[in-house]
Amino acid sequence: MLPAQPARKRSLDQRLLYETRLAYGAVAASLGANALLGFVIIAQAALLSQVIQRVFLGEATQEQVLPTLLFLLGIVGVRAALSYASGRASAQLAIRVKNALRERFTAHLYALGPAYRQTERSGDLVLSATEGIEKLDGYYRDYLPGIFSAIVLPLVILLVVLPLDLVTFAVLLVTAPLIPFFMALIGMAAGALARRQYSEMRHLGAHFLDVMQGLTTLKLFNRSQYQAETIQRITGDFREATMRVLRIAFLSAFTLEMLATLSVAIVAVEIGVRLLNGGIGFEQALFLLVIAPEFYLPLRALGAKFHNATEGKAAAERLYAVLDTPLPEKSSKDALPVPTALHIRFEGVSLAYADDTRPALKDVSFEIEPGQRAALVGASGGGKTSIAALLLRFAQPDSGRISVDGGDLACIPAGAWREHIAWVSQSPYLFNATIAENIRFSRPDASETQMITAAQAAGVHDFVMQLPQGYETVCGERGLRLSGGQAQRVALARAFLRDASLLILDEPTSQLDPESEAAIMRALERVTAGRTLLLITHRLSTAVHADRIILMEGGAVIEQGSHVALMAAGGRYAHLVNSDEGFSDES
């Protein structure tokens, strides 16, 4: 991982330019092709003027100028080849940088871990990793090479014009810097307006999306047919507001265009008048007229690429926001071997999440012995899931200590530790893959029989057999949308398949009806024989058979002990059990 610190002092453009270090070959090729193009353009203009001069004033015949014309054709061929090379180099530059950034972004995200992911909207992260990186294409493929040619080409032309004609040189020299100046104006004043308008446009698109997403709701209330008028009205209002802004925003583009064409006109008139006085030769004058538009062309083209750059930069800003997030400190202590017995002990553990000043866990102490079934119970928001996050090493305690077999958990390498864990999250994720692949995710080398055994235990097998493609059915966002209950079962099968000594199940049956839940709990008994189980649930009935029940409220452990002991104690747990009808239904 590259340190983010030195880069932070740079401006966004500098940072984006710095990214090209990985593709220096492409940058060199682009710059070189542009410089050569400059000379080819000059040669072409010079020869073209010469041919016309020879025919027009020198009375040369077609035969006499034909060799030069053929030679010119060759030059035009070289010009086309150079433009091809420059296009290829730009594309290569964009491809290289995009791949490198994608790799860095994805790696950094994992180094930051799930705790960070939860603070961001995961949809935004996905967007950054997919479309955000693609948006850089416009910056590296169009804008940056555009800048290269806008610097190199005019410079080469200026150098040639200088000894030829001082007046034209002066016209070019004075007008050329005005173009970047106006472009900067577009970038600042009108660009800000345009950007705001652009974001409003997206807002408008969002309104349309909102209506489409809520179409069923609108229909339920018999309101859907009126929306067409609303869409019409809002889009119309927006058009009027936007056009007011665009009238001004286009004005700076107008100035730019005007400057470039008027400069050509000035050059034409200026040399025309001097020709009249014999102050300049025809061939030279024509050369200047041919070269003048070529001088402004890359600068004008850059104006059109500005929009691409703006989009790319906005995307880059979001990428860098993630890449600049410092990584959590790695434990520098000596790595301990992974223990085998799994005697887990929380000793005065406290935890606060970065975006929240209230602690998620306050001075939590408990222990789970090897092979024990422990249940964490209590209302949501009580800190149960934070315990799981700590055990999974997604978070580190701010104070206190978690020990496993007496050794500090922080000293055990996370990857090796997780090899012993199976886990079902509160909202399990199903990958865009077949159901079989989703179950095998926890153990890719599991046999068909092992996979089906796990599926049967989790109650997956029956509904999978009803699907036309069985276990080969693709699920996830792009495949079959499983119901919440079915997804939970697949995740359970995944956890069962893994040969883990510690099972952490976070509300694994929240989407199931009482009968299915009971079946799962019976299967769980079998599957977890000889393993340690941590079951997180807000349903007290689910926890009743646990060896140890830990009741949490407000981030603290209120009571712990077996069901019988806690009932006998007549505390908070007993009170909750007595007031819960769902509980009496089941037991």
Partner: protein, 547 residues
């Protein structure tokens, strides 16, 4: 009748032909100005070299200045007109497709429920707004400008005009063809690889916790790297095409000038040589956007095909020709109802029977995925049914107008959509023109009034994208207030509290039960919360409804 989707989109754009024509004309004038600028300048210099009196040049000097200014002015006007037209077209397209898609909701749109696909529909509509600007206008402009130049060169010599025309045709036909061809081949593969890469990145990010716990990071990273490489290969192929197009344009532009010159040397007066050569170079500016136009045309064809494939679907449910009057006595009875989504698929449920008298409260218990929402959709006439009967007020449900049925049933689902507007407007959706008083009564019943008043903006608080500014309990209470404002005789709760934690769930459910005394209530749920407060409980078990 032409069924080509692109043609149909163009027909949709027909009302805007005036704006489009004007913008095209301005585009032509822009390029004509720069051609004229170069032609006049070249003549000015050539003539000046013969050292005539200054008076002879004065018209050309004025012309050069005029064209120098005109180009910028025309370009400015062209951009204004084309943007104005594009915005008008977008509004028109949105409304047209909304009207076409609205009757399909929700049954035909089930497959679009995932946010991605719905966004694609919206992106597709948005991309069509550029059909004119990016795909139709450039070839039109190029055609007119090419004709103008041919006419102009013909004034000097027919052969010179012909040579220029050949080069322009080559640029106008070969370059777009090459772009089209390249896009059709490599473009499609790139789309496929990119979709695969994006899906993998979604898995990688959304499934981060699972991937870490199960030690699959190297496998996932390897998959992304391989797909990135695959994408790079496709992009390189496309870049080759793109670069080739640009190179070809450069070659044709400059080659045209040489050919015109070679043809003109023995045929026209030397003072015009520079004029014809530079005018020819300048005209090729009109051909630059053609490659992009071809790509846009391809993309727009895809987009319009997708849109019309959706919009052309017949609605699943249509109103009867002579509808029954609004049911006065809203008793509901379901007899022997069976349902499957399509022939050949397993039935969702079989032989369901259920009766709900006015004022009765009935709960239906079943696991998520057991078909509860399907039953709700059938009752609301979002889906049609074939086997069995549903009677509302003693008449077949299918005899009523859909709008009337939705006045009978009020529905609250697990995630009722909240619109990104104020709380007031979100509640008011239930009844247009409801007074603030009526809204507050509903909010009080839903026990959300005090909370709303505690917000700095009160009822004018914006709820955010799909209600994201509210907690789960708050948004369900807003949704409840909305249903209560609608004041329907039958209220259906479809897992209305399933997303809430048990304490909030219990309190929201209690509010619902209190605020709907006297109305029929049909509760679909997978949890046994407060079920002792209803009249009857049914279970959905293995596709059947059991008492």
């Amino acid at each position: 009748m032409n069924r080509d989707p692109l043609w149909r989109v163009l027909r949709l754009a027909l009302p805007f032909w005036r704006g489009m024509a004007l913008a095209t004309l301005l585009g032509v004038l822009t390029i004509a100005s720069s051609v004229s600028l170069m032609a006049t300048s070249a003549w000015l210099i050539s003539r000046a070299a013969q050292q005539p009196s200054i008076a002879e040049l004065s018209v050309a000097v004025v012309g050069v200045r005029f064209f120098g200014i005109a180009r910028g002015v025309f370009r400015y006007l062209e951009r204004l007109v084309s943007h104005e037209t594009t915005f008008r077209l977008l509004a028109h397209l949105r409304v047209a497709f909304y009207r076409a898609i609205e009757p399909l909701a929700p049954a035909r749109l089930v497959s679009l429920r995932s946010g991605d696909l719905l966004s694609r529909v919206i992106d597709d509509i948005e991309s069509l707004q550029n059909l004119y600007l990016r795909a139709v206008a450039p070839p039109l402009t190029a055609l007119v400008v090419a004709l103008l130049l041919t006419v102009f060169l013909n004034l000097f010599d027919p052969l010179v005009a012909l040579v220029a025309l050949v080069f322009m045709l080559a640029a106008g036909i070969f370059i777009p063809l090459l772009a089209w061809w390249g896009n059709a081949r490599a473009g499609r593969e790139r789309v496929a690889v990119r979709a695969e890469l994006n899906a993998t990145l979604v898995d990688y990010i959304q499934g981060m916790a699972e991937t870490l716990v199960y030690g699959q990071t190297p496998a996932q990273v390897g998959k992304i790297a391989a797909l990135s490489q695959g994408l790079a290969t496709q992009e390189t192929r496309i870049a080759r095409f793109d670069a080739l197009q640009v190179a070809l344009t450069v070659f044709l532009t400059n080659g045209a000038a040489l050919a015109v010159l070679a043809a003109a040397v023995p045929r026209i007066d030397g003072v015009y040589l520079a004029t014809v050569a530079l005018a020819t170079i300048a005209v090729f500016e009109a051909f630059l956007p053609l490659a992009q136009a071809a790509a846009h045309l391809g993309a727009n064809t895809q987009a319009s095909r997708r849109l019309f494939a959706l919009a052309d679907l017949p609605p699943i449910v249509t109103d009867p020709v002579s509808p029954a009057p609004f049911p006065e006595h809203p008793a509901l009875e379901i007899r022997e109802l069976s349902f499957r989504y399509a022939a050949g698929e397993p039935p969702v449920f079989e032989a369901v029977a259920l009766a709900l008298q006015p004022g009765e409260r009935v709960a239906i218990l079943g696991e998520s995925g057991a078909g509860k929402s399907t039953l709700v959709n059938i009752l609301l006439r979002f889906w049609d049914y074939e086997t069995g009967d549903i009677l509302l007020g003693g008449r077949d449900l299918r005899d009523y107008r859909q709008a009337d049925i939705r006045e009978v049933f009020g529905v609250m689902t697990q995630r009722t959509h909240l619109f990104n507007t104020t709380i007031r407007e979100n509640i008011r959706i239930a009844r247009t023109g409801a007074t603030q008083e009526a809204i507050e009564v509903a909010a009080r019943q839903a026990q959300i009034h005090d909370f709303i008043l505690s917000l700095p903006e009160g009822y004018d608080t914006f709820v955010g994208e799909d209600g994201s500014q509210l907690s789960g309990g708050e948004r369900q209470r807003v949704a409840l207030a909305r249903v209560l404002l609608k004041n329907t005789p039958i209220l259906i709760l479809d897992e209305a509290t399933a997303n809430l934690d048990p304490i909030t769930e219990r309190s929201v459910l209690e509010t619902i039960l209190q605020s709907t005394v006297g109305r029929s209530l049909l509760i679909f749920t997978h949890r046994r919360v407060l079920l002792d407060q209803v009249d009857r409980v049914y279970h959905i078990h293995q596709r059947r409804l059991l008492p």
